[in-house]
Symmetry: C2
DNA sequence: AAGAGTTTGGGAACCCTTTCACAAAATCGA
DNA sequence: TCGATTTTGTGAAAGGGTTCCCAAACTCTT
């Protein structure tokens, strides 16, 4: 049996926060801030300062004690670490409501993501334009991928179609998939799969809301 | 300073998986499966069986050794635990591409979520219909909330507007927010905030893809 | 030059989550 | 009825991640 190592380097939890730091740093840079403390960055990123320092220490020591971090330098360094020196080209599979919304999203550019293609199985949608991208037939998927146009894929199809789309993506050599369809996809270990499930997020919120209602607002601890 | 307890009961990691089990169980029930093992459910939910058993043990002992779990019964029980006996009404703030896509999403009903209202600040959008919901003015937000129409809120606005929307939601008494805007919102401790950041998800995938490229496919461990 | 004030980096403790492993409880076949 | 087989439920171990805390390193003021 094969075990997929996650060899050297950066803990998963840290990797998941690097994009937040990057976003926060870009914002700070735009506002003209040259240097920021871990406390400052923590607030901007929505986490606490201890975790910022620990996370950044995994990337090496780029801060100055008594001063803080150089905003532009740190942003550049994180961008390098996450491989964002060039925009990542992504293919969006599914040009329904969600796929169209993603295709039209203007915020990708600043975050190192470029929509390279939008494909759909519905002949009526093929040829239409969403967010400046002409929808191609799903039959062109392997061409698009194998010609090196894309390295990341987003699945925005109905759940029933998601598994066969995933199979096609994997067959064409894609190893990174972001799945919006609410279904558990089966992919090889070597493929990196992330899931976004909006209904599940709401249900999690619902659980806590439900408990708050049930319980008579228990006492807060500590003076 | 106030500390928000997460008092008795179910670990956060388990709560986050309950919606997946619920979805998987509903699928199994539709296919006519009456009983399933932890192994079976694990495959359907995309996790491993040890975790399924541990998670379900937090809800009480509802399985039968040597047999498995009653699909319908377990689904009903989980639905009760997550407070999904009645659909949760949600308000969507922002009727742009993403807000419209969410408003039009047909899958919420089956997952215990009901879109109660869609609001936007743009006068040109107010009065239009998205996914069967007439867009109301954002000025009606407090009315909608205070009249008990909704208990969950989705922010689907541009990042610049997100904080003021969050403030308005909190002022109106909302305590559960799902934020799609790529910005760190500042809310009171008592408010439950979850974040969906599509670009960040892609950047995380990018990091791993980047590493795969860089490293010459290191050896697998174990024979 | 020296002392006061800031802020990083990282060791150590703590906490949460996952995985392991197996006794207990059920079914089934003979 | 009994032994073989299946599968749950759960202690215990292992593994990560977060938080705490403080020495070290820097700036600033006097």
């Amino acid at each position: 049996m094969t075990i997929l190592r996650s060899p050297a380097g950066i803990p998963d939890a840290t990797v998941a926060r690097l994009p937040l730091y990057l976003r926060a740093l870009d914002e700070l840079a735009e506002r003209g801030t040259d240097v920021c403390s871990s406390e400052h960055l923590a607030t901007a990123a929505g986490v606490n300062s201890a975790i910022v320092r620990k996370d950044l220490s995994h990337l090496g020591s780029y801060g100055t004690r008594g001063v803080g971090y150089d905003v532009r330098f740190l942003a550049g360094h994180i961008a390098t670490v996450v491989g964002q020196t060039q925009p990542w080209p992504v293919v969006i599979v599914g040009a329904g409501h969600l796929g169209s919304a993603l295709a039209a999203y203007q915020g990708f550019g600043a975050r190192g993501v470029k929509v390279a293609a939008v494909v759909d199985a519905d002949p009526d949608l093929v040829g239409t334009v969403v967010g400046g991208h002409e929808v191609r037939s799903i039959d062109t998927l392997s061409d698009v991928i194998e010609h090196g146009e894309v390295s990341l894929a987003i699945i925005a199809t109905p759940p029933a179609a998601a598994q066969s789309v995933a199979d096609a993506l994997v067959a064409a050599g894609i190893t990174s998939i972001l799945n919006f369809a609410p279904t558990a996809l089966q992919v090889p270990d070597a493929v990196d799969l992330r899931q976004v499930d909006v209904a599940a997020e709401l249900q999690i919120l619902g659980y806590h809301a439900h408990r708050r209602q049930a319980e008579p607002a228990e006492e807060a601890v500590l003076s």
